[in-house]
């Protein structure tokens, strides 16, 4: 039971009423006179130059108000990745270009009075393409003679464009070579992970218009309103001050909206037509015109002593960033920096190449490189523990990073730039393992090799993981309070609630600090005209960074309130306490917050208002232990997961109900990643399964029984001790399931998603698979 009054409560979402009644809330829930519909003409080719593009017939169609090609817009190299400036991603993207680099890349855009007219206008645009050879296989993208995808002279930040190498990372701690010489056992394995789609139920959507002051207003479903403002300003060459970005409620993002996907082109259309324009992706377009998770090939080599001590670990990653390089070194950097240090090996080596291919671009996706890395690492340590005859929990505890340790690798592998060393000030991993194992019944359920024969084999497996909470030295946020006459407070934050409930969590932090009830906090977020800056919702930063700003600003506000209350209570401000919507003097006398407000306003002629910014120089990891039970049907190869336990050290849970919901949603996406989801491209670079019938996500009927355990530790760097939970629970699902399949059937599946035919093949060729 929390010692706090509001923090730690399973409070209902502050925006819940409008969501549960379907009231206007989302980007599309607005009527604008003169609204036009924008559509993008996607490339049918994976790699081609536009030799000729003629838009005259499209422009002549009645009802068409703007048609844009590369000839009509400024050419400004940029990245669409939503990252703090200067972005650690190549500037290799153009609003519209004379070259297309994936099926679905932008060729042109139109704005018209109806969707039907817009679609007809697209059909009337005449394009002659010079089709170029396409590079589709990431393992051959750097071959001599492979077509060069970014041969333009003005892109910057590409490691070696001539070899299609978007970025590369090489880091070493200690000496892996020496470490391996000390090993009693060395195991090398290769793992493969697929392209996954965010599949947020609300597609990407943006509406742009010029307001009465001729400023560009962008109303968009985004995780990064402030980055969008900066990016659009740069791309369209208009000042930041002439742009306002508003984020309404969002129907999910998961990283797919940590990207400026369509705001720039919609704004360009609105400016060209001088009318409001709505641009919304269809579900089909989502699958090949948005972003994906980076597919990877991971080659791991781990050396251990007979007693299970890891002495060396070398991870080699080949990743495909698709046609554009947003997030290419940061996602993959995470695959190294957040995964390798989970175990305290003295010798760690990370080598990574990220290549361009003519496929839809990859970007941020919950976990941000960790799901790939933990699938590989947690499968490998499970295999090694088994070979050594060691209990898998004991093996992990023996090697796992501990409270008080310093993670040196982070200093080398910041998110794309030189990072900062990470000190582990809170670590609940042992409790996660212990409580998770108990809730799961781990001891009694392990077959330990004594498998019951039958058509359906049962097994259990586990995996550990960690993540970060915000990007150290980079992520920052502002928060601003103003007091109202009834003792309520407006709280303005740039922080971006994408359905995560951050508005509620931040309001809880505010209410706790100010000593008022939750309904006294009126939170307004993510409007670049009215809220302070925030980098946006990514890197599991909102609770710890934006929450940190809220707490600081609330403390300043409380102090200011107490100055006025002191006059009413005839006491010293430092001796006052705020609690239960009142301000108390040491003797017990009190006034209501409302009385203080009226006094401040009308007697003292002052608006109580305070703001603060906040950032951290470290990124405290949340820790997670997950346990999966599987049933393997030996006739069909199908794998079902009846039960999955997730135990997360999230620091202190500001809102345990929302925190559990985050974990459960992450697990659902993790299960899809592990067993069902893969974007499949054909030999021409087209996405074959670009719809929900062919790309399957888990439904209510597929989900296992989920047990979620919140393990609380106190993190000094977080408000009220909080860390984060948004991403980490997705990381361990894949390896826990894969390890459970080994327990059940003695086979190792090293490629995600785990398809039934692969399971059957492994069952029938056991030697090769083990």
């Amino acid at each position: 039971m929390s010692a706090h009054r509001v923090v730690g409560r399973r409070a209902r979402k502050v925006d819940g009423l409008k969501l549960v009644t379907g009231r206007t809330a989302f980007t599309d829930d607005i009527d604008l006179p003169g609204l036009l519909i924008g559509k993008i003409l996607p490339s049918p080719h994976a790699h081609a130059r536009i030799k000729r593009i003629d838009t005259r017939r499209a422009k002549a169609l009645p009802g068409v108000h703007a048609v844009l090609t590369y000839q009509d817009v400024p050419r400004v190299p940029h990245t669409t990745a939503g990252q703090a400036w200067p972005e650690p991603s190549p500037y290799d993207t153009y609003l519209l270009d004379s070259k297309v680099r994936h099926v679905g890349d932008r060729v042109a855009a139109v704005a018209a009075e109806t969707r039907a007219i817009a679609e007809e206008a697209l059909r009337r645009i005449e394009v002659d393409y010079e089709v170029l050879p396409a590079v589709l296989d990431m393992e051959h993208a750097m071959d001599k003679g492979a077509a060069v995808i970014h041969d333009e002279p003005d892109s910057t930040g590409i490691d070696d464009a001539a070899r299609n190498l978007a970025g590369e990372i090489h880091r070493e701690l200690g000496s892996a070579e020496q470490g391996f010489r000390q090993a009693d056992l060395i195991v090398e394995r290769e793992y493969r992970t697929p392209r996954q789609q965010h599949a947020a139920i609300e597609p990407h959507i943006v509406i742009c218009w010029l307001d009465a002051d001729d400023r560009l207003v962008i109303r968009t479903s985004t995780q990064i309103p402030f980055h969008v403002r900066r990016q659009v300003a740069m791309i369209l060459q208009i000042p930041v001050s002439r742009i306002r970005v508003i984020k309404p409620r969002i129907g999910g993002g998961f990283g797919g909206k940590q990207e400026m996907v369509i705001e720039d082109i919609c704004a360009a259309l609105a400016l060209a037509a001088r009318r409001p324009v709505k641009l919304e992706y269809t579900r089909h377009e989502e699958f090949f015109m948005a972003r994906t998770r980076h597919p990877q090939v991971l080659r791991l080599k781990m050396g251990v002593k007979k007693d299970g001590t890891i002495v060396a670990h070398h991870m080699k990653v080949l990743a495909a960033t698709g046609a554009y390089g947003g997030h290419c070194t940061t996602v993959q950097g995470n695959t190294g920096s957040k995964v390798l240090p989970l175990y305290r090996a003295p010798n760690l080596k990370f080598d990574c190449d990220v290549v361009y291919v003519n496929a839809p671009p990859a970007g941020a996706f919950r976990g941000y490189g960790c799901p790939q890395g933990f699938f590989a690492q947690e499968s490998l340590v499970d295999e090694i523990a088994h070979q050594l005859g060691m209990d898998p929990i004991a093996f992990r505890l023996k090697n796992a990073i501990r409270q008080g340790d310093t993670d040196e690798l982070s200093a080398q592998l910041g998110e794309g730039r030189k990072g900062l060393p990470r000190l582990i000030r809170s670590c609940g991993l042992p409790q996660c393992l212990a409580r998770g194992a108990e809730a799961f019944g781990w001891k009694t359920r392990r077959t330990g090799g004594r498998r019951r024969p039958g058509r359906v084999l049962h097994g259990v497996g586990l995996a550990c993981s960690m993540q970060g909470s915000g990007i150290a030295g980079v992520d920052f946020a502002g928060a601003f309070f103003k007091l109202n006459e009834d003792g309520s407070f407006n709280l303005q934050v740039g922080a971006t609630d994408l359905g995560t409930g951050s508005d509620t969590v931040l309001a809880q932090i505010a209410a706790e600090t100010l000593g008022v009830s939750l309904d006294k906090i009126l939170i307004y977020s993510s409007d670049t005209d009215f809220t302070p800056f925030d980098v946006g919702a990514y890197a599991s930063s909102t609770t710890i960074i934006s929450g940190g700003a809220v707490k600081k600003a609330a403390e300043k506000t409380r102090d200011a309130v107490c100055c006025f209350a002191a006059k009413l209570l005839d006491a010293n401000p430092e001796d006052l306490t705020c609690r239960d919507d009142r301000v108390f003097a040491p003797g017990g006398k009190s006034v209501t917050m409302g009385e203080v407000a009226m006094f401040a306003f009308y007697k003292e002629k002052t608006q109580v208002m305070e703001g603060s910014s906040h950032f951290n120089t470290d990124s405290p990891p949340p820790f997670c232990a997950q346990f999966a039970e599987v049933e393997v049907d030996t006739e069909t190869g199908q794998v079902k997961v009846p039960h999955l336990v997730t135990a997360v050290d999230l620091g202190v849970a500001i809102n345990p109900m929302q925190a559990e919901g985050q974990a459960e949603g992450a697990v659902a996406q993790g299960l899809g990643y592990t067993l069902a989801e893969e974007m499949v491209l054909d030999e021409a670079g087209r996405v074959v399964n670009a719809n929900f019938c062919d790309y399957k996500i888990f439904t209510a009927e597929d989900m296992p029984k989920l047990t979620t355990i919140l393990v609380e530790t106190e993190e000094p760097l977080g408000p009220y001790g909080a860390k984060s939970i948004a991403e980490v629970p997705i990381n361990g699902v894949g390896p826990a399931v894969a390890n459970a399949i080994f327990d059940a059937a003695g086979i190792r599946l090293r490629r995600l998603p785990i398809r039934p035919d692969a399971v059957l093949a492994a069952l029938r060729a056991p030697e090769a698979a083990r």
């Binding site: 109806t114 969707r115 039907a116 679609e119 006739e635 069909t636 190869g637 199908q638 069902a676 499949v680 074959v688 399964n689 019938c693 062919d694 790309y695 399957k696 888990f698 439904t699 009927e701 597929d702 039934p756 035919d757 059957l760």
Partner: protein, 296 residues
């Protein structure tokens, strides 16, 4: 997007529906019949200029007729799933199959006639209906005719309908045991990637045995493993006249798999489908064995 649609007709009789369709066709322009729309709308054919909606026709019924059953073409999948008249027919496999199609919303909208007229190789209704020797009543300008379901499908999404209309599914009485301790048994199997999916493979089986356990009648049907839903006739023939045992069932399953012509798509490879045909037929026949009191 159906922005090019000129007309949406909602007749209330079969005759009117056929007349409207024919006259629209004569006026030039492509059109189709529509009921639930769960396939037609998804297919998004912009070349359609007219639609004739069938949901007002008096074709929504599921009832016994004589010793058999009659299902009106605009009965929904949900109607079939819950129809009391179908609960006892062939162990309920038709109702069961209808219940596996799509989601709750899709089953409320989608119709039996639409499902068959769409002629997906993976139709969930087709295997049980094939096993039940269903016949379809088709109405055209020239009157009505009845065709066996097997002759209705011509290829992927192609049927014998040409401007005509499927109005009724007729199911004859299934083989009854001839006195003594013989009996009949039925099973439906479906494999999907997740709980709700287009079938990777689906299968239905019906077996009748005499008092001595000898198979007197057998039907095995498979979907999603050929351009149309199919009967595995050689596997059926291999069962008839012989003792119905586990070994016979397994042999028939292998035989049935050999009769399939599956393709590779996102739901599965051809090789996997062929193997799963064997597995599902073996499971279907295994359930039949159980129902007949035979050991696995």
């Amino acid at each position: 997007m159906f922005d090019q649609l000129r007309a949406f007709h909602r007749p209330s009789s079969v005759a009117a529906a056929l007349r409207l369709f024919a006259s629209e066709r004569r006026a030039g322009g492509r059109g189709r019949f529509v009921a639930g729309g769960t396939d037609l709308v998804v297919q998004g054919d912009r070349s359609l200029r007219f639609l004739v909606d069938l949901t007002r026709l008096p074709l929504r019924y599921v009832k016994k007729r004589g010793r058999g059953w009659a299902i009106g073409a605009t009965s929904t999948l949900s109607d079939l799933e819950h129809a009391p008249a179908l609960a006892g027919l062939a162990g309920g496999i038709l109702a069961e199959a209808a219940g596996t199609a799509g989601s709750r919303q899709i089953r409320t909208m989608g119709t039996a006639g639409g499902n068959l007229a769409n002629a997906s190789p993976a139709s969930d209704l087709a295997p049980p209906l094939l096993v039940l020797d269903a016949r379809l009543v088709l109405a055209g300008r020239g009157g009505r005719r009845t065709v066996p379901l097997e002759r209705f499908f011509r290829g992927v999404n192609r049927t014998v309908l040409d401007g005509g209309l499927l109005v009724e599914i007729v199911i004859p009485p299934p083989p009854a045991p001839r006195g003594g301790r013989g009996g009949a048994a039925w099973s439906f199997q479906k494999l999907g990637r997740l709980a709700s999916d287009i079938a990777v493979v689906n299968a239905a089986a019906g077996v009748a045995v005499d008092a001595g356990g000898r198979c007197t009648w057998a039907r095995i049907a498979l979907g999603a493993v050929a351009p149309t839903p199919m009967r595995a006739r050689r596997a059926e023939a291999a069962l008839v006249g012989k003792p119905f045992t586990r070994a016979a069932a397994d042999a028939a399953a292998a035989q049935a798999a050999g009769e399939t012509r599956p393709v590779t798509d996102v739901r599965g490879t051809a090789a996997y489908r062929r193997e799963m045909s064997r597995v599902l037929v073996a499971r279907a026949l295994g359930e039949c064995l159980e129902q007949l009191g035979r050991p696995w």
